[in-house]
Symmetry: C2
Subunit: 327 residues, 2 copies
C-alpha cells in the first residue's frame, strides 16, 4: 500500500490527512496555521505534521509517494509556487521546492478549490464521470472543472471564476474591483448582505433577532427558511436563481456530466438547488439537462485533503512516467 | 510531403481542399451539395472530388494521409457519425465508415464550427496560443475551444453553445426551443431582425430602402453604420454589448489566451469589436484582459477546409501512435 499526504492550508487551520491509494482517509491532524509567524513556521509545522501522521496512524513512512497541498489564492501549479494568498500574506512562495527539501518526496500544490473539486471528481460525488464541474460556496464562490481526470486550467491557471461574472441588476461592489459579481449574491456573505439590506429597509422577519444581536449568519437564513419566513424564502429563491443563471453559462460552455456543489453553501441543499433547477429548466437547452446530474458534495469536510492527495498521486505518477512535472 | 484533404460540407456547397503538412492550401474544388439526391450521392461526389484534387493539382495520391470533414449539426466525432444535420437531412449517417470504404484512408469528421476553430488555432489567428476560444457569427452563433492543440468536447460533444445562453431582457423565440438566446441578437439573422423591428415601429433610417425592397441584410446594417445612420449604430452597439456579455462568461470560465471571431460576422470588424471590448472592460476581472487577445479570424474562407485537414492529420497520427481513434 502506498500513501499520500493531502494538506488543506487555510487562513485559520492546517489540516493534514494520510490517504491511501484507494483515496481513503486513514487519519488526519488539525493545527492552527499561525501564518503571522512566517512562511518557515508554517512549512516546518506542515513537515512535522506529516511525520506525526505516520507515527500516530502507524503507517510506513517509506511508503509515502507524494504530498499535495491546497492553498487559497493564486497558484502556479506548474512551478509549485503560491503567487499570492491574501489571508496567509504569502507572495511568490516556492511551496513545492521548500517543502520538498523538508520531507524528501515530491510536493505538488494547487488552489484549494481546484483540490476540493478534484477530490469530488476522483473519489466523491463526481466519481466515474467524464466532465465534473464543481462549485464551492463559502465566504465567496469559485469553480473548477475536471475533464477525464485532469483539471482544466486555462491561460494563467485562471479558469473557473464563476464567482466573478457580472449579474444584471446587481450593483454591490466586489472585492475583485468589479460590481455585481455573482459571489456578491451567491455566498454566505451575499446571503447575509441581502438579509441585512432588507432588514435595514424595515422588512419584518425572524432574522431581525439575530441581526439586532449582531450575529446574523447564512445558517440563520436557512433556519428561518425552514420556519416559513417570507424574507428568508425570497433570499434563498433569488440566490438559487442567480446560481442557476451562472450554472446555465457553465453548462452551455463546458457541458459537464456532473455539477457538484460544495463548501458551506452545500448545506443549504434543496433550499438553493430547487430554484437552481427551475432556472436551468428555463434557460438551458434540454439536451444538456437530460445528461446532467447536480449533486451536493460528498466530501464536504475532507474533500480538500483527499483531493490534494489524489492530485499528488496523479502528478507523481506522471512525473515518473514522463519526467515532466505538469500535465 | 504528405497531404490531407479537408472538406467543408455545407447545405448549399461542398468545398474540398488539398492541404499539405504545413497546413497550406494547395488547391480546392467547390460543387453544389445536392443533399436532396441522398447521402450516397453526396458521399460519391466527395470521393470523386478527392480524386480530382490530386489530378488537377498534380499531387501524389499515395501521399494522402487522411481526410477530414466538417459537417453542420450534431456529430459524434468518436464514432465518425453525423447524428443530425437538419439542412442535409442526415440522421445517424456513418460518414467516416462509408467514406473510408470509398477513399481507402482514414476519414475523421466533426462539427463544422469546431473544424473552423481548430484551423484558426493550428494555423490561423490562434496559432501558437495555449487556449483558443473561437466564435463563428453567421446565420447563428456557435463557439468551440482548443486547449493545447486539442478540441474541448464536454459531455455528449455538446460544449460551446455560447449562442444559446439566455440574454436578460431578450424574448425572441429561438430555434432551440428557448427564448432570448444570444444568437437571436448576435447573428446576421439577429441583426436584420433588430433592424426590421425598429423600422416596423416607424424608426427612420437609411435601412428603410433595402427593407422596403425586401432585401435587407446584415451587410446593409454595416454599410449604414459607416454612413453614420443612428439606427445602424445602435444595433451594432447593442449587438456588440451582447456578444461582449457572452464572451465575459467564456473568459471567466475558460480563460482563453486568444478569442477568434469568425464567420460572416467577423466582417463587421470594429463595428462589433469596439462595443465588445468596452463591455469586457466593465465586466471581466482585469487580470484576464491583460493576457487576452481578441482577433478577427485569418482563415475566413478556407478555415473549415484547413481545420478539417489539420484535425484529420492530428487524429491520424494519434491513431497510428496509440491504435485509438479518439483523443
Amino acid at each position: 500500500m502506498q500513501y499520500m499526504v493531502g494538506i488543506d492550508v487555510g487562513g485559520t487551520n492546517i489540516v493534514c490527512g494520510l490517504v491511501n491509494e484507494r483515496y481513503e482517509l486513514v487519519g488526519k491532524l488539525k493545527r492552527p496555521t499561525e501564518a503571522a509567524l512566517g512562511v518557515d513556521h508554517v512549512l516546518d509545522k506542515i513537515a512535522n505534521m506529516i511525520g506525526e501522521l505516520f507515527v500516530q496512524f502507524e503507517a510506513d513512512r517509506t511508503r509515502l509517494l507524494a504530498v499535495g497541498a491546497g492553498i487559497p489564492g493564486f497558484i502556479d501549479p506548474e512551478r509549485g509556487v503560491s503567487i499570492f494568498a491574501s489571508n496567509l500574506k504569502w507572495h511568490n512562495v516556492d511551496v513545492s521546492g521548500r517543502l520538498n527539501a523538508k520531507v524528501g518526496v515530491p510536493v505538488f500544490i494547487d488552489n484549494d478549490v481546484r483540490m476540493y473539486v478534484y477530490g469530488e471528481a476522483m473519489s466523491g460525488a463526481g466519481r466515474g464521470a467524464g466532465v465534473v464541474h464543481g462549485v464551492t460556496i463559502g465566504t465567496g464562490l469559485a469553480a473548477a472543472t475536471v475533464v477525464q481526470g485532469e483539471l482544466y486550467y486555462g491561460s494563467g491557471f485562471m479558469a473557473g471564476e464563476l464567482g466573478h461574472i457580472a449579474i444584471p441588476g446587481e450593483t454591490t461592489p466586489c472585492g475583485c474591483g468589479l460590481t455585481g459579481c455573482l459571489e456578491t449574491v451567491v455566498s454566505a456573505t451575499g446571503i447575509v448582505r441581502q438579509a441585512k439590506q432588507a432588514l435595514e429597509r424595515g422588512r419584518e422577519s425572524l432574522l431581525r433577532g439575530p441581526y439586532e444581536r449582531g450575529e446574523l449568519s447564512a445558517a440563520d437564513v436557512s433556519q428561518a427558511y425552514d420556519e416559513g419566513d417570507a424574507l428568508a424564502i425570497e433570499i434563498m429563491e433569488y440566490t438559487g436563481q442567480v446560481l442557476g443563471t451562472g450554472l446555465s453559462y457553465s453548462i452551455s460552455l463546458l457541458s459537464p456530466d456532473v455539477i457538484v456543489i460544495g463548501g458551506g453553501g452545500a448545506m443549504a441543499g434543496d433550499r438553493l438547488l430547487k430554484p437552481v433547477r427551475e432556472t436551468l429548466s428555463r434557460s438551458v437547452y434540454h439536451g444538456y439537462l437530460e445528461r446532467l446530474t447536480i449533486r451536493q458534495g460528498e466530501l464536504i469536510d475532507d474533500g480538500g485533503v483527499i483531493g490534494s492527495a489524489a492530485f499528488a498521486k496523479s502528478r507523481a505518477e506522471k512525473l515518473r512516467q514522463t519526467g515532466e512535472g505538469i500535465i
